[in-house]
Symmetry: C2
Subunit: 368 residues, 2 copies
């Protein structure tokens, strides 16, 4: 992982102290305090590297949406050229490219950036964790975003929440899963903490970009694969091998997508354009969540009715075991890495508090 010393490559943008910026996590108030530079009417041309197949539904399209929103909200003064995974850098090197200034902005998911440290994974998904609405409330109202920004500060990268796939599916499995031991020895593509839990259950976890999954499924390199959910999986064609499609997506009840911005590039903007970028991320974030919310079930209906995909639920004892393994993983992470420990405590405190509210607002009979 390259750090501050590589920022000299950042396209000649002036580095500026801007201590007040972002303190309040992107609220209008906070951005009002942002110093930025004096506005001399400059125009900016940004490159956006992404971790997604170009134009893929929800994710790649979400990056394009963000680029347009930034352009619109900046009154056309920031133009953003979007590159799909592998166009400029591979999916898993997006963070690095933004950190060294090869691109001003990136669009990806924190659990891909292994070099940032274990805590990064917590900013994509926590297995058996909060849903999208609760997670965003933690970020904006519960201190989560400040912790996220602290984590990336060392790399001179600023994360902005920029989307959410909502709850995902549990993945595609060649064989049925009856008990936990059925996971032993399986080669599975699963990112982040879910992957770590799978590893403890005895699976062999493989890391690969989305585009490579179909061929790995076909060629026998994988016995199981998790990507996003029906809307994204259908597009990649993961239903073509007759595998079992499992739910619930215990590993990702919410899955955050982030925009990563090179600090030097951000601080080279006058404060009005910093606000435009900040708000564009929030609009794009909401747009992506709405798109996945609306399209997932439509896509699943098609997978079932047109392609006869067998949709199955993990047995309760398997889910209970995965939950126990998740608790172990989080406890050990907190013990081994103090940064991760701080994030986990903040997250879990917020989750406990909201769990009661979730119960109270449940309309199912005798839910409360």
């Amino acid at each position: 992982m390259r750090r501050r010393e590589f920022l000299g490559k950042a396209g000649g943008l002036a580095a500026l102290a801007s201590a007040g910026a972002l303190a309040g996590c992107g609220s209008p108030e906070a951005n009002g305090e942002s110093t930025g530079v004096r506005d001399t009417g400059l125009r900016f041309h940004w490159r956006m590297v992404t971790a997604w197949p170009h134009g893929s539904p929800g994710l790649g399209a979400g990056a394009e949406y963000l680029a347009r929103a930034i352009n619109e909200l900046s009154g056309g003064r920031i133009s953003v050229r979007v590159f799909g995974a592998d166009d400029l850098v591979p999916a898993l090197e997006v963070f690095d490219a933004v950190a060294r200034g090869s691109a001003e902005i990136g669009h990806g998911a924190a659990h891909y950036w292994e070099d940032v440290g274990p805590a990064a994974q917590l900013f994509t998904s926590v297995p058996f964790g909060m849903n999208a609405q609760e997670t965003h409330a933690w970020l904006y109202q519960g201190g989560g975003l400040a912790l996220w920004r602290d984590l990336y500060r060392h790399f001179d990268v600023i994360p902005f929440p920029c989307g959410n796939t909502g709850a995902q599916m549990g993945g595609w499995f060649k064989q049925e899963i009856h008990e936990l031991s059925d996971l032993e020895g399986l080669s599975i593509r699963m990112s982040g903490l879910g992957g770590e839990v799978m590893r403890r259950a005895g699976a062999r976890v493989v890391s690969m970009a989305g585009d490579d999954i179909p061929e790995a499924m076909r060629g026998g390199r994988l016995d199981a694969a998790e990507w996003v959910g029906p809307y994204g999986d259908r597009d990649l064609g993961l239903h073509r091998w007759g595998w079992h499609y499992y739910y619930p997506g215990w590993q990702q009840p919410s899955s955050l997508v982030e925009a990563l911005i090179n600090r030097e590039a951000y601080e080279a903007l006058p404060s009005g354009l910093q606000q435009a970028v900040t708000h564009a991320c929030r609009v794009a974030s909401d747009h992506m969540l709405m798109e996945f919310t609306a399209r997932n079930q439509q896509a699943l209906d098609e997978l079932v009715s047109v392609y006869d995909v067998p949709v199955q639920r993990f047995p309760d004892p398997v889910l209970a075991s995965l939950r126990r393994l998740t608790d172990e993983v989080l406890e050990e992470m907190a013990d081994e890495d103090s940064t991760a420990g701080r994030v986990i405590r903040s997250y879990q405190d917020f989750q406990s508090q909201l769990a009661r509210w979730r119960e109270l607002t449940n309309l199912d009979p005798s839910a409360g």
Copy 2:
């Protein structure tokens, strides 16, 4: 209800044809098509009338947040002065004030505007309906926002989704509710369709602004009152009379807040500023939902631990009866009003589709 003929009062703003605007419900693409007027660098001074007590948490504060976001995203070119309920017009006359151009923008909830027709209520809350995330997906991805805009078109008012309280509580009751007949004869403050359902259950439904509720509870004019939820109710002091606080908020699993914009005022903006306003509404919308999500349970904890509020669940048979009455109300509305019928069909189709996805993503044991 005053209509187009009153728009001459709209502060001398030029009326302009702008047929392409908003066609795509506020997405960047759609706003890119918006014509607006040629941008001559004009500045705009808007008045915002609101249906909320000035500065009230979540709602009044949400109006202030929107005003700041519009100012920021317009690069300071639109300044918005915010008026609390009764400062300029009473809460329930906000729509009318915007329609006649006495204010360029309003902040309220559609179920207050009885003169718009029965369908308006559907754009705040549908009892036993979708949650906030699902409702917003319906608006942006399922055609809901287009129906909402059609409904207000006749009044030359444009609605923008601009917040959500999330799920609410079921309200404060002087006496315990054991069975449906306990609702008979109660004087209850409850807005929208929930109020209509209560009426069918034999209650006497009273309409009043939030600020008037505490005195009506104290003085014996009310036997029950529903306002927002713990975060808002605590601020109004509704816990001071020792009443029972019931959940779940069957009448409002989601409660939309809207910005209303006078069409002439909107069309007087160059397209860049139209986009700024559109995106500011979406940012403010997300902000409000996050605030309520984070603060409701904190406020409820305080109500219970500091004020000994008795928090109780409606018995299942009462909820089942209210659900049956809700179905009746919606069926009759659809029969009597073709506009309401179109909205109800669109809403219910979307709700049915998402109900399956909600099941699939539920992590509780044997939920699926």
